[in-house]
Amino acid sequence: MLLGPSLAVSAVLFALGVAGVLLRRNAIVIFMCVELMLNAVNLTFVALAQQLGIAGQIFVFFVMAVAAAEAGVGLAIMLAIYRHRHTVNLQDINLLKG
C-alpha cells in the first residue's frame, strides 16, 4: 500500500468531516461527520504503521472503542433532546446563550 495516496485520502476524509461539522445543522449528520474525522485519523494510523511499527495499528482499536462509546452516549443525548424539543436541529437548540 502506497503511503502518499493513503494519507491524501485520509486528509480529504478529514477535511470533509470538518466541513460537515461546520456547515450542517442536523445533529445526526454532524455526529456522522465527527465519526468521519475519527476514521480519517484511523486511516493515517494504519498507513503510517507500515513504516513506524505495530503501535499505530493497535491505537486504531482504541479509537474504535472510544468512537463506539461516544456513539452510544451521543445518540442517547440526542434522543433525550429530541423528546424535549422535537428537533435535533442545532440552530433551534440555543438556550445557553449570554
Binding site: L22, I93, L96, K97, G98
Partner: protein
Amino acid sequence: MPALPLSLLWVVPALPLVGFVVNGTLALTRPAAKRAVSIVGVGTLVLAFAAAALAVAELARQHPTAPLVFRYWEWIPAGDLQVAFALQLDQLAAVMILVVTGVGALIHGFSVGYMHEEPGYARYFAYLNLFVFFMLILVLGANFPVMFVGWEGVGLCSYLLIGFWFNEQVNADAGKKAFIVNRIGDFGFLVAMFLIFTRFGTLDFATVFAKAPAAFLPGGAVVTAITLFLFLGCTGKSAQIPLYIWLPDAMQGPTPVSALIHAATMVTAGVYLVARCGVLFALSPLGSAVVAGVGALTALFAATIALKQWDIKRVLAYSTVSQLGYMFVGVGTGAYAAGMFHLVTHAFFKALLFLGSGSVIHAIHHAYHATHTHEDAQDMRNMGGLARYMPWTAALMWIATLAIAGIPPLSGFFSKDEILGAAFAEGTVRPVWYVFWAMGIAAALLTAFYMTRLMLYTFHGPNRTGEREREHLHEAPPVMTGPLVVLGVLTVMGGALNVPDLFGGNAFLEHWLEPVTSLAQRLHPAVEVAHATEWALVAGAVLIAALGIVGAFRLLKPEALVPARLAPPQTGLARFLWKKWYVDELYDAIIVRPVMWLSREVFWKIVDQRIVDGLLVNGTAAASRALGWLGSRLQTGEVGVYVVLFVIGVLAVVGAVVR
C-alpha cells in the same frame, strides 16, 4: 534627705497621666464619684508639683551648664532619622514645670468648687489632667518631635475643653476654630522641623543648637526661613497676629480652663519655643525682628479691642493676647530672661484675673439661676457694685489689675518694665525697635485703661444684676477663694524673682537662666543703656500706667450703664472696636468663603461628583459592563458558532506550532 536621681524626671509628667487614666475610667464608669475624682485630679497635680520642686532643687544643686538629657527609649529609628523618647531638664524647663504644675494645682483646686454641680465633672478633670501631662511633655522634651507631641497634645486638650459644653453649637464651633487655626501654625512648626533635619540630620535640641553657629551665617536664608516657620507655629499656639482669632472664642470653655490653658500655660508655649530656640533666632536678625514686631503690633492691636468688649472674659482674652505680644517683644529682642519673667508673672496675675472673673460669673450665674432669669452672666452691663457682695474677689482682682497695669512694686511692673527697657536699649542699635517700644508703651496705657474699666464696671457703681437677683449674690466658697489668695500673694511677690540691679536686686531669674541663654547672648549681645536712661524709662512707664488708671476713673461713668438687654446698639468707633476691627468678618470674606466656594463648586461638584464618582467609580463599572456585553455576544448558544471558533483556534495553535 538623700538626693533622688534626676533620671526619675519621667515621674513628673507621669503623675498627671495617671490622673487622666483614673479619672477617664471614672468618667466612663462612675461619673457621679465626684469625691474620688477631686482627690485624684487635684492630688496628682499636687504630687506633680512636689516632684517638680524636688527635681528643680536637685538641678539647682548641680546647676549644670548643659541640659541634663535622659533617653528613655528609641522612638523612631528610621534610617538617618533617629529619634529617642528623651526628656531634658535645664533651667528654662525648670521655670516652666514649676509654673505649669504650681498654677495648674491651684486651678485644679479652684475647679473643684467652680465645676461642682457639673454632670461632666469626671470628664472635665480627666481632660485637665491630660492637658497638664502634655504640657509637661512639651516643656521637658529633649528634641523637636517629643516637643511636638506635647504641642499637639495640648492643642487637643484645648479643643476638648473649649467644646466642653458641646451641646451648644457656639461652643463646638469655638473648639473647632481653635483646632483648625492651630493646624496652620503646626504646618509652620513641621516645615521648620524638616528644614532643621535636612540641615543637621538630627532633631535633638543639644546637637542642633551646638552646631547652629558653625552651620549658619548670621542672617542666612535657611536659618531665617527656619525661624520664620517656627514663629508661624508660635503665632498659632500663642495667639499672635494673624492667627490670634481663636483665643477670644476659646472663652466658651469653662473659666478655670481659660485661666490654665488660655492664659497661664498653653498659650505661652510659643514664647517658650522662641526662648528654647534662642540660638537660631539670634542668628537671624530678620527672624527676631519679625518676632518682636508682630509681638508689639499684637500687644497694641489686642489692647484696642479690649477697650470696648462687654463680656468680662473677652476683655481678659484680648488682654492675654496683648500680654503675649509683650512676651514676644522680650524674646524677639533677645531678652529671654525678661520674656520668661513676664511669662511667669503673667501666669500669676492673669490666672488670678480669670479665676476672679470665674468667681464673679459663678455668683451672677447662680443669682440668675435662682430666679430662673435668662440673662448673660458674663456681660459686665449686668454686673456692677459687686465689691459689696464679693469683697475678697474684688480686692484680689484689684491687686492683679494694678500688677498688669505695671504699678510698682507688683510683679507685672518689673517684668513689663524689663521688656520695654530691653526694647528701648535695642533701639539704640537697631532703630526699628524704638517703634516696637513706642507700641509697647501705647499698649501699656490702654492696658491700664481697659483693666480699670473692667474693675469699675464689674465691682463699682450701682448693681445692675436685677432687684430679685441681688439677694442671691454672695462670695465664692473657700475652695475657690483659697487659690485666689495664693495667686494674689504670688502676684504681689512674683517681682522678687527678678529684681534688676537698678533697684538693688540681684536679677535672680536672669542669672538662673544664663546657662541656657549664654550661647544666644554671645551671638546677639544685649545692649546696655545708662542708669539715668533706665530711670527715665521706669518713671515714664509708671506715669503711663497711672495715667491709664486715672483716665479710666475720670472718663468712665459706671452709673450711666444700663443692663445688657436695655442697652442701645453701639455706634461709630466703639462699634468698630466692639466688633474687633471686623477681623473675623474679613477672614470670613477672604479665606473662609473662598475656601468654602472652592470646596463646594470645584472639589465637590466637579472633582468629586464628576471625576471621582462619575469618571472613576461609575466609569469603571460602565467599562466592565461594556466588556461583559462584548463577551456575552460570543455566547450565542449556537453550537455551530462555537465549532467555527474552535476550528479557528485550532488552526491558530497549529499555525503557531508549525511555524
